[in-house]
């Protein structure tokens, strides 16, 4: 019986062809060399929908090696359905080991959160980015924002933050708070909560950002200054979970998700699923620390 080879598909390791991988890697190197600067790239189509993680996937597949241990989370959770789909895809295309343990992973892909546990020099984290352009909210045209970045003309951005303060009494940017990277480029850290933003500053890890649909890559290398935009007297603040704590573990010092039961009652739980597991099982964790969290702790002690 002659085998019908007509439809036999052989996929390259990590799905993407080698010359495209080369292009992505070169562009990533450029991004690392110019922290916070958006580098355009070819962004080939993937079997995953645009807007559902193709950019993060491009970076992961260009960078991953056979011995990498891969973790992927969405909103902090390994269990999230889209993360499961992408995990299956990466595993199928590379044969790499996958894990939920933040400490064990060598490569982490994430949608809209940084892990609660601190990542080290031997780990890389890849962000899925929906809208890479932080100036889009004040300027809708791409060719104008390109010029604004090139000339470091960020006045419109600052005025919009001023206006926000004037109208609401605070800078109302929620997730995806704009930051100044290496004192030169304003960057969108992807829609991570403000809780996570300070952990980008002078971190040990390499942060890579992929916006597939918009076709841009950018990066924050280790030990880079990343400062949330603030005025001298109107400062950046992280979310304050005040009197809430995780109903499963009692932990207060973590980003919490709000849950509603059928009867409408409300409780909170730690958002990072692996961190939650470890805390629930009383395992050792190595959480990020930063001055904002420290301030909260002091404030908490005061409140009693």
């Amino acid at each position: 019986m002659v085998e019908n080879l007509k439809y036999s598909n052989k996929y390259n390791f990590a799905f993407i062809d080698e010359s495209t991988k080369k292009e992505i890697r070169r562009k990533l190197l450029k991004a690392v060399a110019i922290p916070g600067h958006q580098v355009p790239y070819s962004s080939p189509e993937m079997p995953i929908s645009r807007g559902w993680g193709t950019g993060g996937l491009h970076i992961t597949l260009a960078v991953i090696g056979r011995h990498d241990v891969f973790k992927i989370i969405d909103q902090g959770s390994d269990a999230s359905v889209n993360a499961c789909n992408l995990r299956e895809f990466v595993n199928f295309m590379t044969g790499c080991e996958t894990t939920f343990d933040t400490a064990k992973a060598t490569l982490v892909q994430t949608r809209h959160r940084i892990t609660e546990e601190e990542l080290n020099e031997n780990q890389i984290i890849v962000f899925q980015v929906p809208l890479p352009e932080p100036l889009r909210m004040v300027e809708r045209y791409e060719n104008k924002t390109l010029q604004m970045h090139a000339e470091a003309d960020y006045s419109k951005m600052w005025v919009s933050l001023y206006e926000s303060y004037v109208r609401y009494g605070a800078i109302m940017q929620g997730a995806g708070y704009p930051v100044m990277v290496n004192g030169r480029y304003i960057m969108s850290p992807s829609p991570i909560p403000r809780w996570d933003t300070p952990n980008l500053n002078q971190a040990k890890t390499l942060f890579l950002f992929g916006a597939g649909r918009e076709k841009r890559l950018y990066a924050v290398p280790p030990y880079t200054d990343v400062e949330p935009l603030e005025f001298e007297d109107v400062n950046f603040e992280i979310e304050d979970f005040a009197d809430s704590s995780c109903y499963k573990t009692g932990v207060k010092k973590a980003f919490l998700d709000e849950l509603y039961a059928d009867d409408g009652s409300r409780k909170y739980v730690i958002s990072d699923s692996n961190f939650l597991d470890k805390k629930a099982e009383k395992q050792e964790t190595h959480q990020y620390t930063n001055k904002y969290i420290d301030q909260l702790e002091e404030y908490d002690l005061e409140r009693g």
Partner: protein, 375 residues
Amino acid sequence: MGYVAVKGGTEAIHNASELAEFYRVRGNTTPIDIAQVRSQMRLAIDKVMGEGGIYAPEYAAIALKQAEGDVFEAAFILRAFRTTLQRNYYSDIINTREMFVRRKISSSFREIPGGQILGPTRDYTQRTLDTAKATEQTADINSFLEEFDAKIDMEKLQGVNTFGKVIDLLKNEGLLKPADTSEDRTLTDITREAIKFPAPRSARLQMMARAETGGLMALGYSSQRGFGSVHPTVGELRYGTIPVKVKDASGRKRYIGKIEVTECEMITGSRPGKKNTPPYFSIGYGLCFGHNETKVICMSTLDSAMRRPELGAPANDQEFVLYHTEGVEAMGFTNHLKLPHYVTFQSALSNTRASIQRNKQANLEAEAYKQIQSV
């Protein structure tokens, strides 16, 4: 909790996928033959190829079957498939004057060289629902084909089927705008690099060639209705096959096959030239895979519209037209709203609650102040 939760997530998506497959086959009807899709759903295939950006009718048929007829989804599947393919050659420039014409019309002139050839079109039929199609048999098709065969004039079949172009008439009379040397003639490949704005014409035409028909249609329609109108008239609309040639390793030209394309050359508004230069017509160009007239009509209208940014409507705005008619990206991003956004939302909740708190506090203080004042 961790192990159970992850199993839950993966299990959920596998179940969902299986359920979708169940919906596709639950009718327990005869599996659709790919050959049937290919031959009887010609126009759906052409649309899928056009938006998938790859000329592969058989794969388009498979994609359509896989997607249960969802053209967006099928085009997406083809695009993703295209990424896995090796790029072996670049073809020679296609010359549509070499087109083996099946249909050729012009709205600008009553009579044109070679005549107005209606070709295969339903434009002049009445769109009444043909219930006879519900009981069509193989025998019916066979007898139709036999009768049709008998009507073919074998002598005429040997005749020439390539024709000169209507715009050549205009060009020879000097009515067409001469090629502008200032226009950006860089040849980009939009599948290999991200486009920057303002985009060169090669990039604009490429993007529109694989844009989503409905998106192009909406914007082309808006232009016609007066939102940045360029007053278009169809110079020539053609549908047919054209030969594709490549240069092999030794440099010899090789014919590798033919593809079907639809082409439209749209004559747009006469503009007064500067003093001492006569007025001229401009041509908007549209071309796509397969038979899709709506697409090329709108593509050519928008090609002209985008060259008049000063008119200020969405159809004249390059960034607006090109970004938002890109079907795969548009479908993906609009649908991505279904993904969980609860962390982002939590952040917004936190902000708003704090703002309300501040407001309440400010009102309390104002009240207290008033109280003190009134004493």
